[in-house]
Symmetry: C2
Subunit: 417 residues, 2 copies
């Protein structure tokens, strides 16, 4: 198989061009931020520009019932299911220019290369733009890919409202793509998603290519710890029943458990509230959030067991009441072996000098839901300083080029099989 | 010297009677709570009732420029400075029936006993009701005794406003005691204050009498800790720069330092805020309050040094920026040896079977400011479960009786010297 290369300059220019829609000038940001919430006027402008670029090279537009856009390049046998790639064009309220956008524009760049070089694939290839991945406007996140995968019911998604009471369905109607809209959801042969890492691992290893073997499973808990509050002055240390002192011990031990548990273990205490807090009151009531993540169901279960054991032991040692309530969970999502193998072979053929790093994704992606209905895998490129969901988000043109070349050759392998 | 005894039933009844003004029915509270903010209608009712009781036994009312009430019983030599006792009648917004009130009513009970038994003392005796001790309505606390001691300027106190913009001076005028008001502040020979402990020490020791040797000095700090926030998923534990994990270590070590430092050391982290907190974000910015207390200036300095050393060391170990700003301080206040000796002798004569426990007060009292202008000491009785500033505040009639008997015999010693 020949090794194909993308046009790195065109890829970069397209990302920058679409980034002008919602551009935010930001100090210390190399290319500025991007503010483009799902299904707003700005999101529509970006989608329309994307559609026009794809149509220029002969792609056909299809829109499914939740506004996911599919730009299709026909293959030799159009009865075969398409190989699909893509991501999302919406951003966080103060987001960057790469999260999601890179995956869509790299998909377009793949089609442009094939078009330019008159390469015909056995299967059709589709580039998808999923609707409302970020979940900043319509909650929860990944509504578009979730509906596609049957995780969310269509009626539920369409009636989801933003903070102003405007529904997802109303906004889809306003966008006016009705004539291209299908009744049901389509299928695909395999799904590949190229994304920035949004974390610090590849940068720390100084490796520009990551093969994402799956997405961490996660469990969220609300923890409540009750002791007895008392006046800071009259109460000697040994007669106190301070909930915050107990919770401090919990934070320390929980994060140590995750640190000692293996590379894919995560434990985060992101929110912590002292109730009826006052400078001169030893706290009697503290609540905190607990976010546990692991790469397999058994390892997640093991991490939960260790964490709960520690929480109950510390509560007992400090004479504190504790209640732990699960608030949300998502099972681990291992990606498809065949897809991973395709990516690995593409990496080795295009960049024999780079040993691509296999890693799990800690964050959710559209690929998580798509993997429930089609063989799926992801490719990562580094994020500078691990930043994402941040106006300073940045990945260099050279790194974007490498990821796109791997995607191109992965899709060629898949589309000819 | 004869041993005098108070009328315990009358004392209890008076406390309960005055507690009806602002009474709050509270579940699990033995006698209910009390809501009586300084210089409100309810406070005036309580003060007027108190004045009427004192006047019934021939006491003379004098009011100083900040509304502190002095009820005077003449002695044999009225050119001598009076022995003064008392406390305050205002409460916290959701306070109890004993904090402050007990000291005033026990002072009145002392005068009632002397009147009943026709005992004439060498010096006059005055019972004082300090204005706005709690600081719940007009901040800071102890405005009345602070003005008396010259800590606060008169104009400043009078112009202090509550949250509704009503000034201390306007409220004094509304109370209408103008004709009894003096131009300046009076003096006293010695000042004794009887108070509930507001802490758990005496109850834990099962001792009903405490001799308060002084009040802890205290320093308040605002501490800010900055790391780098990151997404909880993509960031492995070893690549994080979590401010909360560092702060948890600080809370643990600071409270251990105080616990190992001696009985009078106090370290309290009462407020803790995670900025831009989110369940799936490893915190990059945390602030907390730090309240340090010790019994002498040198010990407080030593505690501060240890605490700061720990804070900077932990910040360095966790690669965190730290800033520590002092927000308030009050020097330690050792009480007068002669006054303490008077209390001790009174204890031994009235209750030879009880070994009164010497302790420091961790909370501020009017006696702290008065001690700057007159020899001063305090007597404590236990607080059930150490509760105070709480609607469940409680001290038994028997314990209140013991404290009052010690106060009576202490004042007799002082007033005849």
């Amino acid at each position: 198989m020949n090794i194909e290369k993308c046009n790195a300059e065109r890829l970069w220019d397209s990302i920058m061009e679409i980034g002008k829609i919602g551009h935010a000038e930001v100090k210390n940001s190399k290319v500025g931020g991007c503010h483009r919430l799902a299904l707003t006027d700005k999101d529509q402008q970006a989608r329309d520009l994307f559609i026009s670029w794809a149509q220029e090279i002969g792609c056909h537009l299809r829109i499914d019932p939740v506004g996911n856009l599919f730009l299709r390049r026909e293959g030799k046998d159009n009865n075969l299911l398409p190989v699909t790639t893509g991501s999302h064009l919406d951003t966080q309220p103060t987001g960057g220019k790469f999260d999601g956008i890179y995956g869509c524009l790299a998909g377009l760049e793949v089609l442009r290369c094939l078009d330019e070089q008159n390469i015909q694939t056995l299967r059709p290839i589709e580039v998808v733009v999923w609707t409302n991945e970020e979940g900043s406007r319509f909650k929860p996140a990944m509504l578009g890919s979730g509906a596609y995968a049957g995780v969310f019911k269509l009626e539920g998604v369409l009636s989801t409202k933003d903070v102003n009471g405007i529904s997802f369905g109303e906004e889809l109607e306003r966008l006016g793509y009705q004539d291209k809209m299908t009744e049901g959801f389509s299928k695909c042969y395999q799904y590949y998603e190229l994304h920035i890492e949004q974390g610090p691992v590849l940068e720390a290893l100084d490796i520009d290519l990551g093969i994402v073997t799956g997405v961490l499973g996660m469990c969220w808990y609300d923890v409540e710890v009750i002791g007895t509050s008392c006046h800071a002055g009259p109460s000697p240390m040994h007669l106190r029943n301070d909930a915050l002192v107990g919770v401090a011990n919990m934070v320390t031990q929980l994060t140590e458990i995750a640190a000692n548990n293996g590379v894919d273990s995560r434990c985060t205490i992101g929110e912590l509230n002292v109730l009826n807090a006052s400078t001169n009151v030893s706290p009697g009531h503290v609540t905190f959030s607990l976010d546990l993540r692991e790469s397999s169901a058994s390892q997640l279960h093991e991490l939960q067991t260790k964490a709960f054991e520690a929480l109950h032991r510390i509560a007992y040692q400090h004479n504190l009441e504790i209640t732990i309530k699960e608030s949300w969970s998502l099972p681990p999502c291992p990606f498809d072996e065949k897809c991973l193998s395709n990516i690995k072979q593409a990496c080795e053929s295009v960049y024999p000098e780079i040993k691509a790093h296999s890693l799990v994704s800690g964050a959710g992606h559209d690929a998580v839901y798509v993997s429930r209905v089609a063989p799926t895998a992801m490719i990562f490129v580094p994020s500078e300083k691990g930043l994402s969901h941040n106006e300073c988000e940045y990945t260099s043109p050279e790194q974007l080029e490498k990821g796109c070349n791997v995607l191109l050759n992965t899709i060629l392998r898949a589309a000819n099989s």
